[in-house]
């Protein structure tokens, strides 16, 4: 994802302040400043750290995609390369990366392929003249095995990190990545972060969505993100004594009061007798409805039941048509 929280002007000021270069908003010039400064960093670095897009079990290959070349620089110039990746990036066979790579670059950027596809299968050999002398791979669980344990939540791990869900998210495109306060922003962040840091730490993540469905629609690996968000909302309000513990921090939004109200609501709507009694009382006693109902009437008129219920009106309507049942 690009740095959508900064525009060229902000980057120009940042470069001017921190690097002492002349202020320019010209994107090409800004990129050239970045190139010059970072080349020196690549040149001097003792260790290069990278992520991984796909790790191939069959051949022991780390596959990295990028357009810029900083990935190749970091993994090739310093004497030590440390790759850090989640366990879900491991694919079985080399051929598996063919469709995945195609989906990744097309969904991320609309490109048939990125400028560089870098496949690393080991450190420099004795007779080679460059490349890192050591390559280390750190495989992270960090909540992934927890997601894996539940057949519905497991789908979270299908993610190939293309960012299509973010590009299409009406929330993300307006608030940017930093608003989420964690490493992974956007729709995918909202379903993966709760596994990483515990739902109690990010209880609002599953709710920060209009459930418009765009993310699920564009996901190239068909992760049902809206369904998973709803599932996490359920996990969020599970009673603490619920024996079915599927994730760390679940139930942090549980409120006995809210649970009581919803239980009463459910009973009212599933019992015709109770419902009729409620409708009778609500319409007859409408004059007694309080006008002060919390912050609601600050911007709206207080809700007041109608004089007659819809059922009542419908009955009259049918009677008038002579359609007695």
């Amino acid at each position: 994802m690009t740095a959508i929280h900064k525009n060229a002007g902000k980057i120009a000021s940042l470069f001017h302040d921190k690097l002492g270069v002349e202020y320019t908003k010209d994107v090409d010039q800004l990129i050239q400043i970045g190139r010059k400064v970072l080349r020196q960093k690549f040149f001097e670095a003792d260790i290069g750290v990278s992520g991984v897009n796909f790790a191939v079990a069959e051949t022991g290959t780390l596959l990295l995609v990028e357009n810029e070349g900083n990935g190749r620089m970091s993994t090739t110039v310093p004497p030590v390369h440390i790759a850090v990746t989640g366990i879900e990036k491991v694919v079985e066979n080399l051929r598996d990366v063919v469709p995945l790579l195609s989906l990744l670059t097309r969904s991320a950027l609309g490109q048939p392929i990125t400028t560089y596809v870098n496949m690393i299968s080991g450190p420099r050999k004795a007779d080679e003249l460059d490349g890192p002398q050591e390559v280390h791979l750190v495989l992270l669980d960090n909540g992934r095995s927890q997601a894996f344990a539940d057949s519905e939540l497991r789908q979270t791990l299908n993610c190939i990190r293309c960012g299509a869900c973010m590009n299409h998210c009406p929330v993300y495109t307006r608030i940017g990545g930093h608003a989420y306060g964690e490493v992974y922003p956007g729709p995918i962040g909202k379903i993966i972060t709760p596994h990483m840091v515990g739902l109690a730490k990010v209880p609002d993540h599953p709710s920060a969505s209009s459930l418009c469905g765009a993310c699920g629609e564009v996901c190239p690996v068909k992760i049902p993100i809206p369904a998973l968000l709803r599932r996490l909302r359920e996990e969020n309000v599970k009673a603490p004594d619920n024996p079915n513990q599927v994730m760390r921090g679940q139930g942090s939004k549980y409120s006995p009061k809210e649970r009581f109200i919803w239980n009463a609501w459910a009973r009212l709507n599933s019992s015709p007798r109770l419902y009729r009694l409620f409708a009778f009382l609500a319409t007859r006693l409408r004059a007694l409805t309080p006008s002060n109902v919390g912050p609601w009437p600050q911007n709206h008129s207080a809700p007041k039941p109608a004089a007659r219920s819809l059922h009542d009106l419908a009955r009259d309507h049918l009677k008038a048509q002579g359609d007695r049942r």
Partner: protein, 223 residues
């Protein structure tokens, strides 16, 4: 129990009682729409690579050295990094011997540690061979070797790549099969589809981010 055992035990436990999903890899899906008639391969590759600012020249096994010398002169490049022991490296050395006043030739013939500063600061261009190309995505296949190490196609700002027309393949799957990559990968293999680029600032596309600013491909039509 190590972290590794712990993770694996958790994953295995989650799979208890389940059946592994059969591998339904669909070869047609990744090849069918990415097949080209022999005469279509160069135009297809060219279309995609030029779309991302690659400079492409059609030349011949005989004429490419002359063209290379001309391109270097046009760009006023003072030197060129080559692999003198390769077939194409020998050809360049020979042509240079017969034509005075051409840019200096440099060889990548020692470990990078011995000349890192010169490689970064005083090596404006390089020429490497390729293992072929992929028409479907407009990509060169680079398989760095002892003769043509990894940084040769990355650090110099201008990268010339030599491509034999007969070695342009249809798609990535076919390349993996043909070269039997699953049986053994080199320490580093690359697909390169243009000069370095970025759209990090306001999604404005800019070329020459961290890798080569220019990628010049010489396609040998008769080879």
């Amino acid at each position: 129990m190590s972290a590794r055992d712990n993770i694996l035990a958790k994953l295995r436990k989650s799979l208890t009682g389940t059946t592994p999903v059969a591998d339904h890899f669909d070869v047609d899906l990744v090849t069918q729409t990415y097949r080209y008639a022999p005469e279509e391969r160069i135009p297809q590759l060219r279309k995609l690579m030029e779309a991302v600012h690659t400079e492409i020249h059609l030349t011949s096994g005989e004429g490419w050295t002359t063209l290379l010398a001309q391109l270097l002169r046009d760009r006023q490049l003072p030197s060129l990094l080559i692999a003198p022991t390769t077939a194409h490296g020998k050809k360049i050395t020979q042509f240079w011997a017969n034509n005075p006043d051409l840019p200096t030739l440099k060889a990548y013939n020692r470990p990078v540690e011995e000349w890192k500063a010169e490689l970064f600061n005083d090596t404006p261009a390089s020429l490497t061979g390729t293992l072929g190309a992929i028409a479907a995505t407009g990509s060169l296949i680079l398989w760095p070797t002892r003769e043509e190490p990894r940084l040769m196609s990355l650090v110099p700002p201008v990268h010339f790549a030599l491509l034999k027309a007969s070695e342009i393949r249809d798609n990535f799957y076919e390349v993996q099969q043909e070269f039997e990559w699953a049986q053994g990968m080199p320490t580093n293999a690359l697909l390169v589809s243009g000069p370095s680029k970025t759209a990090d600032i306001e999604q404005v596309l800019a070329y020459g981010a961290h890798g080569p600013k220019d990628l010049v491909v010489l396609i040998l039509e008769d080879q």
